[in-house]
Symmetry: C2
Subunit: 213 residues, 2 copies
C-alpha cells in the first residue's frame, strides 16, 4: 500500500496534489483545510487557557480545545478516506462487461462506488461544519492576541465544507437511487447555507474583517 | 534550528498548529492554503495536457501548469517565512530597556520586527492572488472531469489572500511609519477586493457552485 497522505510532508502533499496523479485532489485538500481550521480554532482556545485575564472562560475554552482536537483528528483521517473511496469506483470500471449478468454486476458496483464517493466528502463536510461554533466562541471570548487565527479558522472551515460538498455534488449527478439523491441534496443545501452564513457572521465579529462582506 | 514546517507531516503540521506553540498560526496556514490552491490549479492543467479532446488548449495549459508550479513553490517557502518573521519582534521584546538609549534601540527594533511581520504576509497575499487567473483559466478551458478541483483552488486562494492580509492588518496597527501604513492599507483594500470578486466569478462559472453567491 502506498504511503498515507497524512504522513507525507506538507511540501510533498502539495507536490503530489499538483501532479496528474488521480489523488489527492480537491476532496483531500478540503479535508486538510478542515483539519487546519479545527487546528486554528483549538490553538486560540489553547492560547486562552491558563491566562489570568481569561480565567472566567477557562472551563469553556478547555471544552472547546477538546472538541477542536477531536474534529482535527477526524478530518486528518478524511484526507486519506477521500482518496480511497475513489478506488471502489475505479475497480468497478475495470470489471468485465461481456454478458448481461456481468454488465448488471458492473453497474451495481459502479453505483456502490459513486455512493461511497459521495458519502465520504459528505461526512467530511458535516464534520467541518462543526468547527464554526468553536471558531465563533474563540473569536468572541478567546485570547484577543490570536483573533486572526480564529478568523482564518472560520475561512478554512467554509472552504472545507463547500469544497467537500462540490465532491458530493459531482458524484450525485450519476447516482440513480432517487431517495439517496433527494436526501443528499437537502443536506447539501443546508450545509452550504451554514458554511456561508457562519463564516460571514464570524468575520463580522472583528473590525479586522467586518468590512469584507 | 527547529525542523522546517514544510518538512513536517501533514498531520504533524496540523497538530503543532493546534498547540499553544507561537508558530505555526494563521499566517503559515494561509501560506499553506495558497500552496494547495496553486497545486490544485496546476493539477487541473496537468490533467488537461496530453488529452486529445483538449489539444487546442494544450500549449496554454502547459504555461499555466508552469506558472502554478512556481507559485506553489513560493507559497511553500512562505509557510516558514511567516513564522520566522515573527522572531525579530520577539527578539526586540527581550532587549534591555534600562536607559533611554536602550529604550530607543528596543523601540526601533520592535518597529523593524513589526514591518517584517507585515511584509511577509503581504508578499504571501500578493503571490496567492496570482493563482486566480490560473484557476479561472483551468475552470473555463481545462479538463471538465477536474472542474471541482479548479473551484476548490479558487476558494483556497481566497482564504490564503484574506488570511494573509489579516496578519498584515494586525501588525499594521502598531506601525508608526505613516507612509508605510498608507501604502499597505491601499494594497490591502485592492487585494481583498480581488480575492472576493475573483473567487465569486470563478464559482459562478460552474453550475455546481453558481448558486452559492
Amino acid at each position: 500500500m502506498a504511503e498515507l497522505l497524512k504522513n507525507m510532508t506538507v511540501e510533498g502533499f502539495a507536490d503530489l496534489t499538483a501532479s496528474d496523479a488521480p489523488a489527492p485532489g480537491g476532496g483531500s485538500v478540503s479535508a486538510n483545510a478542515g483539519a487546519l481550521a479545527a487546528a486554528l480554532a483549538g490553538m486560540v482556545a489553547n492560547l486562552t487557557i491558563g491566562k489570568k485575564k481569561y480565567e472566567e472562560v477557562e472551563d469553556e475554552m478547555k471544552v472547546l480545545a477538546e472538541k477542536a482536537d477531536a474534529l482535527r483528528r477526524e478530518l486528518i483521517e478524511d484526507i486519506d478516506k477521500d482518496s480511497s473511496s475513489f478506488n471502489i469506483y475505479m475497480e468497478a470500471i475495470g470489471m468485465p462487461k461481456d454478458t448481461e449478468e456481468q454488465k448488471e454486476a458492473r453497474k451495481a458496483k459502479m453505483q456502490e462506488g459513486l455512493k461511497a464517493a459521495a458519502k465520504v466528502p459528505m461526512e467530511c463536510a458535516e464534520t467541518a461544519a462543526k468547527i464554526f461554533e468553536i471558531s465563533e466562541a474563540v473569536v468572541a471570548k478567546g485570547n484577543t492576541n490570536a483573533v486572526t487565527d480564529g478568523l482564518v479558522s472560520a475561512m478554512m472551515a467554509r472552504t472545507a465544507v463547500i469544497g467537500a460538498l462540490l465532491n458530493v455534488k459531482i458524484n450525485l449527478g450519476s447516482i440513480k437511487d432517487e431517495a439517496f439523491v433527494a436526501e443528499y441534496t437537502a443536506k447539501i443545501e443546508k450545509l452550504e447555507k451554514t458554511a456561508i452564513e457562519e463564516e460571514k457572521k464570524i468575520l463580522g465579529m472583528s473590525d479586522l474583517s467586518d468590512k469584507l462582506y
